[in-house]
């Protein structure tokens, strides 16, 4: 038969040859072993396993005479053994026992190396199974390491989390319970895995005998926590009424941080981002944003959080995180951002936030991001929540701040829906000021005029697209009507004369726009009807002569995608809208005249 060639190495038939090789290995010191020896040993092992001979392999490993071999070369068997366990091969228990034996016998450094390689080369189809199999053994090896434990733990955690980030995060309670990809099981296993190291840090840090190795261990655990906050927790759907797997994982992270002497208040309020441990600044912000959400919204470990900070300060600090979350395009992020925004605002007194806050970049950006959610986000439930948060935010501003905010939104939102909402709020503020009887200068005095100037204006003049700006225009007309009904309370103020002038100019321009638009749409409607008549006649002719009718060109390009029936509807409703606007204008003029006449009579 001859010696097995390279290609035939896997086909070992001759038992004597095997024994010879083994005998040779027993007598060879580690330094003299060659790469071919390692490869051959690995092959022996693999063959055993594929042949279902796990028991024999175990016996070999446990044999005292083979101790030297196992010590030098045992690590190469890690991969085949672990794969066998993961694939639920025939000799599961023997494999587990074999792995355990290896972790007790081989050099921790080499074991560490093999295990890290295993993690990095994980089969993407068996990520969670492999990790669950590895973790207890990885822990054993790490605890046996003499030096560089912290660095190796760091590498292991990083590699593990990187693999886990390939698994999809469940987004419904049902998905989480099913845990199809094993993500939840893995993260919980990870918590158990890190426990002894956390305990070690707890014992050592703060005592007089802290070494740099202890500090490094603390840092690696901190990095692990921060990474976990970003992935999977930022994506996860958490609910305090349902203490699911991921909820428990979140709690573990929140408890670990103070255990390793990382104060949550320091981390959230007082740590400049530059100091964050080797995470780029937007990743670090995401982690902290998640932390703020878990603490303030889900109330995890809130009872150990200092109850001495002022609500406005907490709001200020959270604004950074709110901004981070709201500028994301991921639903789970935006949801959390809105919840954090709402929660932070709730603790602040109504009408208390001063105008100076709006000079802070984060305070200026958050409502802008909110506005973007309102105008661009495709998910209705997010837009609805966003609107609630916007109103809550407005309610917390004091009068001067409200005034400035309204001006800002009217100038920057470029969206009729948002503008109309703001105008409605302005009307409410005027109403409030009148009812309260305090001549609030921002909504009843001179300062009202610049605001009204923004509301009652048509910046595109005669070119205004009335339909596009319909919401805003209708709301502004409502406001005008309200102001003129309540003229008693306004006449005495300096506002009145200027208000009348603004109204006159606005209504004049509006009338011009309406008549232009009406003319255009009426013409379109007429053309459409003509077109219909022609088509009907042509169809009749075509049916008579049974010829193929050529495709008809549509005159109106804008609505070319709609069917004629729908086009008709659109044009009709446009005309109705103009009628509505005009009737409102007419009503306002009516009121004005009534009041003027009653004034003359008095």
């Amino acid at each position: 038969m001859g010696l097995p060639t390279r290609a035939e190495e896997t086909l070992i038939v001759d038992e004597d040859e095997v024994n010879d090789i083994i005998q040779r290995w027993r007598n060879t010191p580690e330094e003299k072993l060659k790469p071919e020896d390692y490869q051959q040993f690995k092959n022996f092992g693999s063959v055993c396993l594929t042949g279902g001979d796990g028991a024999q392999l175990l016996k070999f490993l446990q044999d005292e005479e083979n101790r030297g071999i196992v010590k030098s070369m045992g690590c190469v068997l890690m991969t085949p053994l672990v794969n066998e366990v993961v694939q639920k091969g025939k000799s599961l228990d023997h494999c587990q026992a074999a792995i355990t034996h290896l972790t007790m016998t081989c050099s921790p450094d080499e074991l560490m190396h093999s295990l890290l390689e295993l993690i990095e080369d994980i089969d993407p189809g068996a990520i969670s199974e492999t990790i669950l199999t590895l973790l207890p053994h990885l822990q054993t090896v790490l605890l046996h390491l003499e030096d560089s434990k912290a660095a190796r733990l760091g590498s292991a955690l990083c590699a593990l989390q990187q693999q886990l980030s390939r698994l999809p995060v469940p987004y419904s309670p049902q998905q989480e319970d099913e845990d199809e990809h094993g993500l939840c099981r893995c993260y919980n296993a990870l918590t158990n895995f890190t426990k002894p190291f956390v305990e070690e840090v707890k014992r050592k840090i703060g005592s007089s005998v802290t070494t740099s190795e202890d500090e490094e261990l603390r840092t690696e655990l901190l990095k692990f926590c921060m990474r976990s906050l970003r992935e999977p927790l930022l994506e996860a759907e958490l609910n305090r009424d349902r203490k699911s797997s991921l909820w428990l994982f979140a709690t573990e992270i929140m408890v670990t941080l103070p255990a390793i002497q990382e104060s949550l208040s320091e981390l959230l309020f007082f740590s400049p981002l530059k100091k964050s441990p080797q995470m780029d600044s937007s990743e670090s912000k995401e982690s902290r944003a998640c932390l703020a959400y878990l603490l303030f919204v889900q109330l995890i470990t809130i009872d150990s959080f200092p109850a001495v900070f002022s609500p406005v300060f907490v709001l200020q600090c959270n604004m950074e995180y709110i901004n981070q979350l709201l500028s994301s395009k991921t639903e789970s992020h935006v949801l959390k951002g809105l919840a954090l925004y709402e929660k932070s605002l709730e603790n602040v007194q109504d009408n208390s936030l001063p105008v100076s806050l709006q000079d802070l970049k984060s305070f200026y950006s958050a409502p802008q991001n909110l506005r973007q959610v309102l105008t661009d986000c495709p998910m209705q439930h997010l837009r609805e929540t966003g609107l609630q948060v916007l109103q809550l935010f407005i309610d917390k501003l004091n009068s001067e701040a409200k005034h400035k905010f309204f001006r800002c939104m009217l100038k920057t939102s470029h969206h009729a829906g948002v503008e109309s909402y703001i105008v409605k709020n302005i009307r409410n503020q005027v109403e409030c000021s009148i009812k309260q009887g305090n001549a609030n200068k921002w909504f009843l005095g001179e300062e009202l005029l610049p605001l009204l100037g923004l509301v009652l204006s048509l910046p595109q003049g005669a070119q205004t697209d009335l339909l596009n700006s319909m919401d805003k225009i209708m709301e502004s007309l409502n406001l005008l009507r309200y102001l003129f009904i309540r003229d008693k309370d306004l006449r005495s103020t300096i506002v009145w004369e200027k208000l009348c002038r603004i109204k006159d100019e606005y209504l004049k321009m509006l009338r011009v726009c309406i008549s232009i638009s009406r003319g255009y749409y009426a013409a379109e409607l007429k053309a459409l009807r003509q077109d219909q008549k022609i088509k009907a006649r042509e169809a009749r002719d075509a049916a008579r002569s049974s010829r193929l009718v050529k495709s008809i060109t549509v005159k109106n390009e804008k609505m070319s995608n709609m069917s004629p029936e729908v086009q008709h509807q659109v044009l009709q409703s446009a005309l109705v809208t103009f009628d509505l606007m005009e009737s409102l204008i007419f009503r306002i003029e009516e009121i004005t005249d009534e009041k003027q006449n009653s004034q003359k009579l008095n």
């Binding site: 005592s207 002497q261 303030f296 809130i302 109850a307 001495v308 002022s310 001063p354 000079d359």
Partner: protein
Amino acid sequence: MADEPTREWSDEQLKSDDLPKKDVITFIQDNAAHSFLNEHKLLGNLKSVAKTAKKEQLIIAYNQLFESKRFKGTEPVEDVTEQIRTVKIEDKKELPAEVIDEGPPKFKKAVLKKGDKTNFPKKGENVSCWYTGSLEDGTVFDTNLPTTARKKKQSKPLSFKVGLGRVIRGWDEGILTMSKGETSRLEIEPEWAYGRKGLPDSKIPPNAKLFFEIELVAVD
């Protein structure tokens, strides 16, 4: 228009070690135009400027101020508003102080252990303290005191910049009256604590009067 400020110090006096940098900086900050301060890098917090500016620089600036006569109020208005506008949107954490006269202080203090009576914290300085907070009925709602003395060595007291509205007003005002090493009991009215809303997530009910025993461990 205000009169031109007078030159207080001669060159010799300026060079002397008896004249601290902070005094010169204060004078220049109080009297020079904004653009002058900006050019000479003398804008900002007194301490920070004192750290970065050299005495020689200050002497030069002082002399240049009187030569160029670029005092406060000599700048055209447009420049000033432009500068204010550019300064406006910053990444600041502090709120400018709202000076509202509200009447008598809404807290009471009882000293339990005297401090050194010399090191009183100033607004904006960092303070560290151990504390226990309780409600009127005695319920402890918050504390940062660890359970054993050994753990106390391993934990850190709460640190923050006092007087900037970062904590409830009762704390801000109360701690400013304490000296290093002092332990006192502060009784804070709800208006200077969490007011009408309370802080339900931290077990503080609405309109709650709060009692804090605070040990001021460190000042700056």
